[in-house]
């Protein structure tokens, strides 16, 4: 039985031996997940601004829907996307299945509810008069919305970190629409699953250690930057 300790040692050996596969898979994971966060932010932040700054009937229902969707099983989403992107599916003609683009799209959809809910909460915590204030100082509707978003930046920042961590650590979407093709769509989580299936437990623990180190490292770095910026305010 391979011990966890052996796996951790193996992880350090892999990192410091300069094994190109380790760097390639790690960088691919980071790029795919970071791109997914940026793309998801494009539609999630406007939705959150709408949800957070306006009152209308059905708001609670919409928030409830997105909150529930945070718990969407990644395998379920992966399966739906697989059916949509497969040759016989409605978007099969795009030939996206088993490409990094498919994983990016899938992860972006996966983290959308998380960004929406966390950003909405951050916006709701901003003084409701900020939007009016910006307008009385000459801001347009869009500029006033940006002022609100800026005031909520700490919360938006946290939404970004949380969704990045959710994306980088998910397996279902990457497995089903990415296929874990070595050199093309293999990411850290699919690597863990693959090596475990092959019985290479030492290697899968090593991948796990790298994944955890990446998540901790990036979270810590962004929190430090955010704390520094907050102190400067």
């Amino acid at each position: 039985m391979t011990s966890i300790w052996d796996g951790i040692i193996k992880a350090f050996q892999l990192i410091f031996s300069g094994d190109p596969t380790v760097y390639e898979v790690t960088i691919r994971s980071l790029l795919i997940s970071a791109t997914a966060v940026l793309i998801a932010a494009l539609w999630s932040i406007p939705i959150a601004l709408f949800l957070g700054t306006r009152n209308y009937r059905g708001k609670l229902f919409i928030k409830g829907f997105f909150t529930a969707m945070i718990g969407l099983p990644t395998v379920g989403l992966g399966l739906i996307l697989f059916l949509i992107l497969s040759k016989a599916g409605p978007l099969g003609f795009l030939h996206l299945l088993y490409t990094p683009t498919a994983i990016i799209l899938g992860e972006a959809i996966l983290i959308t509810p998380l960004i929406i809910i966390l950003t909405t909460r951050a916006i709701e915590d901003v003084d409701p008069e900020i939007k009016n204030l910006a307008k009385t100082l000459g801001a347009s509707e869009a500029q006033a919305a940006m002022a609100v978003l800026k005031e909520a930046s700490s919360g938006v920042f946290l939404a970004g970190i949380a969704s990045f961590n959710r994306a980088v650590a998910e397996l279902g979407v990457a497995q089903l629409v990415g296929g874990s093709i070595a050199g093309l769509t293999e990411v850290l989580t699919t690597g863990i699953a693959l090596e475990t299936a092959r019985g290479n437990l030492e290697l899968s623990i090593a991948w796990t250690t790298i994944l955890l180190a990446v998540v901790f490292g990036i979270t810590l770095a962004t929190l430090v930057v955010e704390a520094y910026q907050r102190r400067r305010k």
Partner: protein
């Protein structure tokens, strides 16, 4: 730098509540207009409509005879700005707060910097540029908010209770800045207040607002001289009392305000009068003070309200008095509800309305 403002048939409803009811009113060029009314009378809603951040349910606002419409609202908004009652600041430095509106107007950098400097000087906050705005005291924060509005040099300046809950020093700096702006830049200023003393001294014209309607308007002398029902109805909450005045042999006036409570005022008046004592002018103590104050009354604390750096207390001394003290004094005096206290104020602090 002048502007003509008119509101025609303006009604504003929120769900089933009518906040403003068919208001027709004209604001004259370069005047300071006081909007005087009780809490909830519609003052803030009217200011927000004038600031063009709230749309009337019916009616229209005219700037320089032109109706404000969806098409010209962005340009019209640049002619006006508003300082809110509850100080609202961006979570950044004093400099960036004051710079915000100037940047929205895309002014050159030199102009932005010189206007920030000038505005901060007007509110006596020179050297505060790099300080975090939200970490300043309540009074300083309100001065930043005023500086931010003054820097824009708009033709119409709207102030919603700009000195409410402020200590006398900060309040007088703000009042001086308002007067100076009107005098030097001919800015038209609308100031909503329920502070009778402020309403009497600052504006050139007063409009009384009651239940969403403007019931009366005129010069402070006309309005306070009439002692209208509207004025009396909300003034009662703010150290304003009515009674019979009699001139004494010493040349002062004693006013019997009922419940065996007598107030001495330095001004001379006979007959029915209304008097006002600013909450900031009242000294609170646990024992009677040996001082020059002509009025000392014993009472009980009936209400304690926390207002940021200040504490507002209601004292029942035959009649209910509002007193405002700093939080530090409140803590040092270890005041409790129902405790016996003394209130003292000078005869010259008693304003005859």
């Amino acid at each position: 730098m002048t502007i003509d403002v008119e509101i025609r048939n303006v009604t504003k409803s929120f769900d089933n509540l009518t906040a403003l009811d068919n208001i027709n009113f004209q604001i004259r060029q370069s005047e300071i207009l006081g909007l005087l009314g009780a809490n909830g009378s519609g003052k803030t809603t009217l200011l927000k409509i004038l600031a063009l951040i709230e749309k009337p349910s019916q009616g229209q606002v005219f700037f320089n005879k032109a109706a404000v419409t969806e098409q010209n609202i962005s340009a019209a908004r640049l002619e006006t700005t508003m300082v809110f009652q509850k100080t609202t600041l961006f979570g950044t430095t004093v400099h960036n707060n004051v710079a915000y509106g100037l940047k929205m107007r895309k002014l050159p950098k030199d102009e932005v910097e010189s206007r920030i400097k000038e505005a901060l000087k007007t509110v006596r906050l020179e050297g505060f540029e790099k300080r975090s705005a939200q970490k300043l005291s309540g009074g300083e924060q309100q001065r930043v908010a005023l500086a931010r509005a003054l820097a824009l040099k708009t033709k119409l300046l709207l102030l919603d209770e700009p000195t409410a809950n402020l200590d006398p020093r900060n309040a007088s700096i703000i009042e001086e800045a308002i007067e100076a702006t009107n005098r030097e830049s001919k800015t038209t200023i609308v100031i909503a207040t329920h502070n009778m003393f402020q309403a009497k001294n600052l504006p050139q014209r007063i409009a009384l607002i009651e239940k969403g309607k403007i019931s009366e308007s005129g010069t402070p002398t006309e309005i306070f001289g009439k002692l209208s029902k509207t004025l009396a109805s909300f003034a009662a909450t703010e150290n304003t009392f009515s009674g019979q005045a009699k001139i004494t042999e010493q040349g002062t006036t004693i006013i019997d305000i009922g419940n065996d409570t007598h107030i001495e005022a330095s001004a001379q008046r006979e007959g029915s009068v209304s008097i006002f004592i600013s909450p900031e002018d009242i000294i609170l103590s646990k024992t009677p003070l040996a001082s020059s104050a002509r009025n000392t009354l014993k009472g009980k604390i009936t209400e304690i309200a926390d207002l940021d750096s200040l504490v507002k207390l209601k004292i029942d001394a035959g009649k209910p008095f509002s007193v405002q003290i700093t939080k530090r004094s409140f803590n040092e005096m270890n005041l409790q509800l129902n405790a016996d206290v003394y209130i003292a104020f000078k005869a010259s602090s008693v304003q005859m309305l």
